[in-house]
């Protein structure tokens, strides 16, 4: 079975983001970019499936600017077998919307015929949480979102989902789309031998046009603002005082 793992190049989670002067988004010029952390978890899971003998090939795909090939090299250094880069934008500030990404991925899936697509549940830059679900709809495949456990058994997969108020375990038919949550695994570091091997692994370059997908944005960003600064807290003298203050604030 082949595993397809879409990975997105996003602003590094350690970077303190700054809103661009014109309010169209955050400033991405000269800031550190990394693989979306949820996608890293998906790559790790795919490699573990291969190590467990449940998959025989891991293919990473990234859609965006040309620089996303660095992200793909990271996936290859972690242990993915090959990579596909779909160039769909020139400007690092252009975010390809989930529907366009899902359409391109659907085309890639038709070409590659993976048994499972492992996606991050969302990208940490815009928190859309939509691509996996849209891909499932476009392909007519089953989906299991927010996975914290994944167990593939023949033509079905048992997935534990992190939902509000607890865990839900479902069984889905393969082939399937699984979007992964934070607690599924802890991604490995790229080992030195794998870093050295990564360069020799194939990385195919395509464009959105190769798949006939129009990536023109359908959404308009009206404004982007910094979150409000947190107001200073207060100290209370006793638990009673704390409860009274919380009641006043309508919190209990």
């Amino acid at each position: 079975m082949k595993v397809l793992v879409p990975v997105k190049r996003v602003i590094d989670y350690n970077v303190k983001v700054r809103v661009k002067a014109d309010g169209t988004g955050v400033d991405l010029a000269n800031v550190k970019m990394s693989m979306n952390p949820f996608d890293e978890i998906a790559v790790e899971e795919a490699i573990r499936l291969k190590e467990a003998g449940k998959a025989d090939e891991v293919v990473a795909v990234s859609i965006g600017v040309k620089q996303a090939q660095e992200t793909l090299r990271t996936a290859l250094a972690m242990g993915a077998d090959r990579a596909i880069l779909v160039v769909a934008a020139d400007d690092v500030h252009t975010d390809i919307e989930p529907l366009a990404v899902a359409k391109i991925l659907a085309a890639v899936v038709k070409e590659e015929e993976p048994g499972i697509v492992l996606c991050g549940k969302q990208a940490i830059d815009n928190d859309m949480n939509a691509t996996g679900q849209m891909l499932s709809a476009l392909l007519g495949w089953s989906q299991a979102t927010f996975a914290s456990e994944l167990d593939i058994d023949g033509d079905s997969a048992k997935v534990t989902r992190e939902v509000d108020g607890g865990l839900q375990t479902i069984s889905v038919k393969m082939p399937t789309i699984v979007t992964v949550d934070l607690r599924l695994n802890e991604p490995r570091y790229a080992s030195l031998p794998n870093i050295m091997k990564a360069k020799r692994k194939p990385l195919d370059e395509k464009t959105a046009a190769d798949y006939g997908v129009d990536v023109t944005p359908r959404l308009e960003i009206v404004s982007t603002t910094e979150p409000e600064a947190r107001a200073a807290g207060i100290k209370v003298d006793s638990v009673d005082d704390l409860i009274a203050k919380l009641k006043d604030a309508g919190a209990v």
Binding site: E70, T74, A77, Y189, L192, P193, I195
Partner: protein, 386 residues
């Protein structure tokens, strides 16, 4: 000229940095407080590094290392320099000098060291032989076909974890026009050899937990098989392999200076006095500017020296310049950062006071700043007959 790193080099940097941030930083406060690294923790770090394929990454492929270039290895060292030395010691980089092992010694020392099965420590310094290596008193004399060693060595780092020691010992004196000159031989000494003892050393202000030890030799008998390289060839072995330790100090200094600088930068942006971030005051802002300029310069000097080694170009002076400038830059950066933090910088709630203390030794060990200046000036003046 091309100043960029390859994709692989970028990944090496980001992997080692992540490793240091995730596997080293969380234990630093404990090591600083207790002054030691628990054995299990050291072994755990070592195993993770072995699994990652980074153990002994300063060794060539023919002996089981990854065969990194000097530049790549220097990048690794730079990132390791961010973390506590007591802990990064387990990101094992055995002494390159072990490449001088003969075939039989390879099996006993070199290969197990590269595999992480045996750890080494290097012993050169004595109370009366610091920069003046030839002043050493620890000596070996011939007796019944063996060597009998008497004397001591101090400031021996990593001795508590070492299974064997690479020791420089005087094996005779030559009369030269400039006066008597000691001949030196390199020996491999196993822990537990009769007549050889490892004792606790001094309490150092720098690098808590990266302890120094004293080695004592009391009629310690060693066969010829323990000689590394040629008898009386200690200086050749030293010159061929020990240049790299100075580059390590330079790279460590750059890494730690960058870590410290990030504290200075963020604090200057966040700390408000007189109604504005202190970085907006020119007195602080200019310090930030000077620090990053010096750190970048030290970084390039260090990487350029490593690059010269890779090209097979003469690099003795360049390595000395890198060691001198990077260690002195680290001193200025840690001191300035502490000044920017003010009183809080002295408190151990922040790692600034530690960076400041740790920085002090970098201008001393592996050749003092004065020795580096001597090397640099001699390199320039000697061809002119001065």
């Amino acid at each position: 000229m091309h100043f960029g790193l390859t994709d692989e080099q970028e990944m090496i940097v980001s992997t080692v940095r992540s490793f240091v941030e995730n596997e080293i930083y969380p234990h630093e406060a404990m090591v600083e407080r207790t002054g030691q690294v628990p054995h299990e923790l050291g072994e755990e770090i070592k195993q993770k590094v072995i699994d990652l394929g980074f153990y002994a990454c300063n060794f060539p492929e023919e002996v089981g290392g990854p065969g990194l270039s000097h530049l790549e290895f220097t990048l690794v060292e730079r990132e390791l320099g961010r973390g506590s030395m007591a802990l990064t010691h387990f990101f094992g980089r055995p002494q390159n000098i072990l490449m001088a092992c003969n075939d039989e010694q390879r099996e006993r020392y070199l290969l197990p060291a590269v595999r992480g099965e045996r750890m080494d420590a290097l012993a050169m310094t004595e109370p009366d032989a610091g920069s003046d290596v030839r002043g050493m008193k620890c000596q070996a004399v011939r007796d019944d076909g063996d060597w009998v060693i008497n004397g001591s060595k101090h400031f021996i780092s990593g001795a508590e974890h070492a299974d064997f020691f690479i020791v420089f010992i005087a094996t005779g004196v030559d009369d030269t026009p400039k006066g008597p000159k000691k001949r030196i031989t390199t020996f491999l000494v196993d822990r537990g050899t009769p007549g050889f003892e490892v004792r606790e050393g001094y309490n150092s202000v720098s690098h808590k937990g990266y302890k120094n030890y004293i080695l004592y030799f009391d009629n310690c008998r060693l066969p010829d098989a323990q000689v590394l390289g040629e008898v009386d060839g200690g200086f050749d072995v030293m010159n061929e392999w020990l240049y790299a330790t100075r580059l390590t100090v330079a790279a460590f200094s750059v890494g730690r200076a960058r870590r410290c600088f990030d504290y200075a930068l963020n604090y200057s942006a966040e700390r408000k006095q007189f109604g504005q971030p202190i970085g907006k005051f020119q007195g602080v802002g200019f310090q930030i500017a000077d620090m990053i300029t010096e750190i970048d310069a030290a970084d390039w000097l260090t990487l350029a020296a490593a690059w010269r080694l890779d090209q097979g170009l003469p690099s003795n002076r360049e390595i000395a310049s890198a060691k001198l400038y990077a260690s002195e830059t680290l001193a200025r950066v840690t001191d300035t950062t502490l000044q920017i933090y003010g009183g809080m910088g002295l408190m151990d709630d922040f790692p600034i006071e530690r960076f400041w203390r740790d920085a002090r030794v970098e201008r001393i060990w592996d050749g003092t700043s004065e020795i580096q200046r001597h090397i640099i000036s001699r390199d320039l003046l000697r061809p002119l007959g001065a």
